[in-house]
Amino acid sequence: MKKKEWNEGLNYLDPDLIEKHIEQKERLRQKNKKPKSVWLRFGAIAACFLLIASAVIAVPMMFDSNDPPPSFSDEGSDQTDIGEAIQLEKYYDYQINDGMFAPYIGGKVIEEGNVGSKLENVVVTAGWKNEAGEWLTVETLNAEVYAIACVESDVAVALKFIDQGEAVTTTHYYTLTHPNAEYNGTVFPDYIAENPVRYLEESSMGKSNGWQDFGLNGEIRTITVPVGSSYVYQMYSYYIRNDLKHIYWNEDLPDTLEKLPEWLSDSESAGRRTFWYSMGLRIPVDITVEATSEITSENGIIKFLKAEYTVQIKDGLNEKEEHWVIYFMEEDGVYSAYAVLANENFDFVKSYSESIVKSYQNKQ
């Protein structure tokens, strides 16, 4: 076997093995950070005194909202077998004892600005668990449950501890999410497999999802390098959803296409914003249909319902406005959507995407 062949073969190594290696390397790096010599330990102890003294003031300022609150740790730093080291890993977990939030799962810290009104007082079991999820230590802590802004409490809530736990603070809000919550537990369809407009292509970069969209000359157009080389494509992100039933498999879609734009803008009804979530993994706070109109393809066969939206997105504490234009289509009772998020000049994006849609003739 030639060297080049060997390396080509390694290029096709299972990605899971690469991910695993990276995780192992990071764990070992963390573990090897521990001071080993007496002098280093002494230095570390001295530093700890300083750290404790400053922590009272500094920790709340340092705590990053993206950090997961439960601590992960490993024991047996002298272990040299990586398998053993991984097995000894433990993590801090917590769970409400009774009531409707008991099945909820702990998550990341949320900023105080996103927390709403207090819902109830609860008692929480907290402590360290081993990799199999068995409690190694247990402590009972009092806590308060709060609503999270723009999130229904049957999906997620925030938890604030009243009692100090070993690895949680009394100053932060920890999210708790229902394990089968509407958004959290939603498994979105595999658009590569299920959406016939998208396909799998093989390029020098390996396998990736290619795209097809509405062609300028009437055909479905194949884009091997979908974006990046064209400024026009940088002006917007687009998403093709060939069958909305893939997203709303457990709901009845409106009986006419005309009702669909409003139906998708209903941010009050549970689960209605899933369509928007599937396009960028963010849940809009508010969705407004600004205008709708009907357009017909140049060959006069396909009718589209064009809807222009203003969408409010909350990203942390920042709220921003997005402009979307979505072309809905019905074929044999199946609703499809070609959605365009305008990153720049909305009017230009609209006229460009409209010219593409008008050139649409048929699916292949």
Binding site: K3, L10, I22, W211, M235, Y236
Partner: protein
Amino acid sequence: MELQSKQTARIPMDDDKIVELYWERNEKAIEETDFKYKKYLFSIAYNVVHDRLDCEECLNDTYLGAWNVIPPTKPNALKAFLTTITRRMAIKRYHNNLKQNVIPSEMTVSLSELEDFVGGDGDVDSDFDAERLGGVISDFVRSLSERKQFIFMSRYYVADPIDTIASDLSLSRSMVNKELAAIRSALKEKLESEGYSI
């Protein structure tokens, strides 16, 4: 696409958010990727090509590659995704450079360790099936103990120096060499059983 990390204190962005920036076609995605992963990706490329300028170009190719495939690709593990791209770019450059001279990189040393069954600098045979070989190697790696998996991946995938592996695992150099010898012996057997000519 030359990018420099900012020197001011700054927290690396979550991978999910970086991927989201790529999906929004926001060029800040590349800046954040560079800030978070430059050092790591540089080391991956350096182990292979052993040249700073080549590494810089590999990194730029990596960022451009990521920009071109996200979307529509949505990587679940961004770091592994970038590793794959960087390694491919570096390997490509390595073989191109190899035509001109010997490269004193760790990749050259690690390949020389495999000379019992990997040799010759020629091009890939037309009937060579890289995907099949990838599957065979993957199966082989999975059959190893956790520690040996780590050693194999470190040495033959990212071409880490033996000293680095020894330090990672708190082992002596000789112990790592002993483990590598055992891995190579088992690998040779596996490749033979799969019909690869030695």
